[in-house]
């Protein structure tokens, strides 16, 4: 004890330095908005660039699955295109200019960091403020399925709070009878292929195999297919039931996502705030 005391008092300048300097750094990081926002997250330039390098290699390993999802999407688009092109042209039809009616536009982005094993997973993508990404935009995956919401945006990168995060709630409906529910993950279910739909009223009849789609509120376009019911009536003990669904998209091999830009988002938000007041 005495030796320790002698040691400490002999090099007291150094120990005082460590103590006071740490306090200074902590003050700087905690109280200045800029320093706090850049310390430790994957929108940080160093971390973001490192993940980008790593992904050049990782991308090749999942190419097959990515091709599959792109092919599915192509098929879907072709079907829609045929429906448009094969219109009987002898009929006289009125053309309505619908350019200003397009509510949603999609921004394609590459996933540069992803995880499915944590309780609060975060995805980082390679598009940011420069490409028009803003906070709380909805994110969907190519083919079928939803991904989540944009959480933080920097100049070139953005982080997404995916469905696989306990903070994420997405408004969904049953496709066949429009019963509203909210899609969540977590809650003793940490399998990235499954999720729960809560707050479906008890009087609806739900069968295994029914499709769940998005409801059109909370930023997602209406009718994006999310998953299939695998277990009905998981009891919660009140007037609502909980469904277990298997998700259509596979989060573990996610490589490209679409960020949904809602042209009318600000208008809706302003209107809803007016109502609250």
């Amino acid at each position: 004890m005495r030796n320790l005391w002698i040691f400490l008092s002999r090099y007291n300048a150094f120990f005082f330095f460590i103590i006071f300097f740490t306090v200074g750094i902590i003050l700087a990081i905690r109280n200045n908005a800029y320093q706090r926002s850049t310390v430790f997250n994957s929108t940080n330039e160093v971390v973001g660039t490192a993940y980008k390098r790593l992904n050049v290699i990782k991308r090749y390993l999942n190419l097959g699955q990515v091709n599959d999802s792109l092919a599915t999407e192509n098929a879907l688009l072709k079907t829609q295109l045929m429906a448009v092109l094969n219109v009987d042209s002898t009929k006289l039809i009125k053309v309505k200019d619908s350019i200003n009616q397009v509510q949603y536009t999609l921004i394609a982005a590459k996933v540069i960091k992803n995880s499915v094993t944590l309780t609060n997973n975060i995805i980082t993508i390679n598009k940011g403020l420069k490409d028009g990404i803003e906070k709380e935009m909805a994110v969907i995956s190519p083919g079928k399925g939803v991904v989540g919401f944009v959480q933080n945006v920097s100049e070139n990168f953005a982080t997404i709070r995916p469905l696989l995060n306990q903070e994420t709630f997405i408004s969904v409906v049953l496709k066949k009878d429009n019963a509203f529910g909210s899609l969540v993950w977590g809650d003793n279910n940490f399998d990235y292929r499954k999720a729960l739909v809560k707050e479906i009223p008890n009087h609806y009849k739900v069968n295994v195999g029914d499709t769940i789609v998005t409801s059109g509120s909370s930023g997602f376009p209406r009718g994006i297919e999310v998953g299939k019911v695998t277990k009905t009536g998981v009891s919660t003990g009140d007037n609502f039931m909980t469904l277990e669904i298997s998700l259509f998209n596979n989060f573990s091999t996610l490589q490209y996502v679409y960020v949904v830009k809602d042209k009318l988002a600000n208008e809706i938000k302003a209107l809803q705030q007016e109502v609250k007041r």
Partner: protein
């Protein structure tokens, strides 16, 4: 430490911080070179100041500056680093028992010792200050350039002030 030393240091503290906050804060060459004359407060503290008191003074000076610059923590860390370099440099370059002069001023210690002492201390201070302010490594060359140019400017003002007061004392 007698009461005269305390009063002199207190007056110096108030005068230098006043100049720094109300005059030099608005001064910069192309936003590249900024003088931080207030480091002189810590540079000129008496040799026999206990370490704890030295760090406390550095901490309080830094936090006062931060309050006016709206950068809580940045000047504080820089001042603490300055105090550390000061103790190291003094313990290496001088024999603790044979220090005759009470304060490390230019008049007491001579130009050579004082300028080396000032350069090292100011460089440490500015390095921490500018890097903590920029808070990213990617533009390190720009930040380092700002640091070096500011060191030159600060050193110039520090030695200028020292010459003025040195002459007045001996006259």
């Amino acid at each position: 430490m007698n009461s005269r030393t305390i009063i002199v240091n207190l007056l110096r503290w108030m005068a230098l911080l006043f100049i720094q906050i109300f005059l030099l804060r608005n001064m910069a060459f192309y936003n590249l070179s900024t003088p931080f004359i207030y480091v002189l407060v810590i540079l000129l503290l008496p040799f026999r100041t206990p370490n704890l008191l030295l760090y406390l003074i550095a901490f309080m000076t830094g936090i006062t500056l931060d309050a006016f610059y709206d950068t809580l923590g940045v000047h504080t860390s820089a001042c603490v680093a300055l105090a550390f370099v000061r103790t190291i440099f003094i313990s290496i370059s001088l024999n603790r028992d044979s220090i005759d002069e009470p304060e490390p001023t230019l008049g007491n210690m001579g130009l050579r010792w004082f300028s080396l002492y000032a350069v090292l201390c100011i460089f440490a201070h500015h390095l921490i200050l500018f890097f903590l302010e920029a808070f990213k490594i990617s533009s390190w060359s720009y930040t380092l350039g700002r640091t070096l140019l500011s060191v030159v400017f600060t050193l110039f003002t520090v030695i200028l002030v020292e010459f003025i007061f040195h002459n007045r004392k001996s006259a």
